[in-house]
């Protein structure tokens, strides 16, 4: 009798736990998502090279692979005819291999953009590894190298930002997100980059956001 009641109790508890932990939503594998410009037309590398460069301080964001996983779209090449910036960067696409995309959620404690903001060259006097432009999080001061796979420049974060694998179709000049770089940590706040919200779908539109203001130059 007691065993029967115990089994029944365990069954009820197990059932209740299932409610506490609902089915996780997400995607089973990475998929190709076409990037659309601010106006909804397909985004082309030519447009990115013309409109954005290493000096652009506005944050250009898109969600991938899930709806609550924002990423920066950055072009670290210098403006036409000038020096500075960087080209041929790891994971870079476009004519100068300078267009990259990184998760816009800090790997330290999960502060999203615009708390995590892009610092164009000359914003702050400090340079790290000779790099004068970086992503810096105003929450706790982590800094990431945009021209080197978002590797850590300063702590307290210890992991690099997850990098989105971009695909440049040289035929029609369009850009698409196709996955995350192998070895990227999960987007912060998620146990797995592919779990924790609904997938963005076949195309996703860019969003423009002002950077955090004022940009604080407090570095250790």
């Amino acid at each position: 009798m007691a065993g029967l009641l115990g089994a029944g109790g365990l069954g009820i508890a197990g059932g209740a736990l299932q409610y506490v932990q609902p089915p996780v939503v997400g995607a089973t594998s990475y998929f190709k998502t076409q990037l659309l410009d601010l106006d909804g037309s397909p985004l082309t590398a030519t447009k990115v090279m013309a409109e954005y460069d290493v000096l652009t301080s506005d944050l250009i964001l898109f969600n991938y692979p899930l709806l609550n996983e924002p990423n920066f779209l950055l072009n670290v090449a210098p403006p036409n005819g000038s020096s500075g910036g960087a080209t041929n960067v790891p994971g870079g696409v476009g004519p100068q291999k300078s267009i990259v995309a990184y998760s816009a959620i800090c790997q330290h404690l999960g502060c999203p953009a615009p708390a995590l903001s892009y610092y164009p060259p000359g914003t702050c006097s400090q340079a790290f590894n000779g790099r004068g432009f970086y992503l810096h999080c105003t929450c706790h001061g982590s800094t990431y190298d945009v021209a080197n796979g978002a590797a850590n420049l300063t702590g307290p974060a210890v992991l690099p930002l997850p990098q989105v694998v971009l695909e440049w179709n040289e035929g029609d000049d369009t850009l698409a997100a196709v996955g995350m770089t192998a070895g990227s940590p999960p987007v912060n706040g998620h146990l797995d980059t592919l779990q924790g919200d609904y997938p963005v779908g076949a195309s996703v539109q860019l969003q423009k956001q002002a950077p955090i203001s004022p940009l604080s130059c407090f570095f250790p």
Binding site: P22, V24, L109, C139
Partner: protein, 451 residues
């Protein structure tokens, strides 16, 4: 005259009927000695007063609040009939502030009431700490109280997300990442905190926790806290002499004031003063709603929690303090508080007789205030080791030295006074007679603190 007599008699008869059929006089709480009628003895009652206001204002807010991240037709700045650009959670908060009559007052008083409740809970806690009320037989009462403090902070954490501002969303993410980063426990707890992982899943869970789960736990614990208080009565004043505690308890038995109506009116007086102050402050300085989650025009959104979590937030800023370490430190402090009655076993309750725990308490309070102010002034700035050492270590050292010197002085003077009296007049005061003969240790915190 006749009417007055008739009125009073009728009222008495009705009230007599109610009292008789309900047995209400037996509901009254324990009578209390007359000298306890000063605020410092009723810090717990003030927390309950604050809780009652939170329940009333919270239930009214619940009539308007929409716990959703989707758009809504509620009016929050958009043209009539159009869906809001902001999430419904934020939009309904905006609606309460701007469209509900006196809604701003209601919401502000709920927020400030939460601050006040947490502050009063801290006051209640530190008073108990310093006056040694956790000593036998009130150990369980202290442990239940620690859990109550935790529940109160939990209410603060879960309530912070509900207006769904970018600020509260960022700060809640920080709290959740702190939990997810824990080794073993993080991946295990993660699905329970995050649900299906969507922002809506998180908001639903925080909402459920804030309006039902934590309040239920809080009320159950509060019942236990008050029931234990009823069993043991109010803690005697702090004293160096265990005998005095026994005398106090004997005095409490005969010299008491009944709960109804004296204590009830006494607490009601304070409750009305509290509510008046709270509403006054909420009316003079209404809360300004920050911008919503996902507002692309937002600039200058800093990430910081409310003041009662600023100290953890500042802790994570420290060089070398990983999220796991910060949670570890917090848990050690919590365990210390929870198990305090079993660490401090001496019979004397006065702080001057508990130098080690006095020094630890001062250090905890000092570091808490320091980190809170520091976090408020420079949220999110990395603090290097020398700066940490320069600010935190002096708090501990100065406390240890001051308490040590004080204790050394006190012991020598108290010993001479003891010697002047006949030792047999004070049986049980200092049971170990060898202690008086032992030479005092300069700065003798470590050597003689556990008596």
């Amino acid at each position: 005259m006749g009417i007055e007599r008739w009125f009073n008699r009728t009222l008495n008869r009705i009230w007599g009927f109610v009292e008789d059929r309900t047995g209400m006089p037996k509901w009254a709480l324990r009578p209390q000695p007359e000298f306890t009628f000063k605020p410092s003895y009723w810090t717990g009652a003030f927390v309950v007063n604050a809780l009652l206001w939170q329940v009333v204002s919270g239930l009214l807010l619940l009539l308007y609040y929409q716990p959703s991240v989707g758009p809504t037709l509620l009016s929050c700045g958009q043209p009539p009939g159009a869906l809001s650009a902001s999430p419904a959670a934020w939009c309904s908060t905006y609606y309460v502030i701007n469209s509900v009559p006196m809604g701003s007052l209601l919401l502000s008083s709920h927020l400030y009431g939460a601050y006040a409740m947490i502050f009063l809970a801290f006051v209640h806690f530190f008073r108990g700490y310093y006056l040694g009320v956790y000593k036998a037989p009130r150990e369980l009462s202290w442990m239940v109280g620690t859990l109550l403090l935790l529940m109160t902070l939990g209410m603060g954490f879960t309530g912070y997300l509900l207006p769904y501002t970018q600020l509260s969303y960022n700060a809640t993410s920080v709290g959740i990442v702190l939990a997810l980063r824990l080794p073993y426990a993080g991946p295990l707890l993660g699905p329970f905190i995050l649900g299906d992982g969507t922002p809506q899943g998180l908001l639903s869970r925080m909402f459920a926790a804030h309006i039902l789960l934590i309040p239920l736990a809080l009320l159950a614990l509060l019942y236990a806290h008050i029931a234990l208080f009823e069993s043991h009565g109010i803690a005697p004043p702090a004293t160096s002499d265990p005998l005095q505690r026994r005398r106090f308890i004997a005095r409490e038995e005969k010299d008491h004031v009944p709960f109804m109506p004296h204590i009830f009116f006494y607490i009601t007086k304070w409750a009305l003063l509290y509510i008046g102050l709270l509403i006054g402050i909420a009316a003079l300085w209404p809360w300004q709603l920050p911008t919503y989650v996902g507002d692309l025009t937002a600039v200058g959104v800093v990430t910081e929690p409310d003041w009662y979590f600023l100290w953890v937030f500042k802790l994570v800023d420290f060089e070398g303090v990983t999220p796991v370490l910060a949670v570890g430190i917090t848990n050690v402090v919590l365990l210390y508080i929870l198990l305090l009655p079993f660490l401090d076993r001496s019979k004397r309750t006065h702080p001057r007789d508990r130098p080690v725990f006095l020094a630890i308490g001062n250090t905890m309070l000092g570091i808490f205030v320091m980190l809170t102010v520091w976090g408020g002034l420079t949220p999110g700035e990395l603090i290097l080791l020398p700066a940490i050492a320069a600010r935190l270590v002096p708090i501990a050292i100065v406390n240890a030295v001051v308490v040590g010197l004080f204790y050394w002085r006190y012991r020598s003077s108290y010993r001479s006074r003891l010697a002047a009296r006949a030792p047999d007049r004070l049986p049980g005061a200092y049971p170990e007679s060898g202690a008086a003969a032992r030479p005092p240790v300069p700065g003798g915190v470590e050597a003689s603190g556990r008596e």
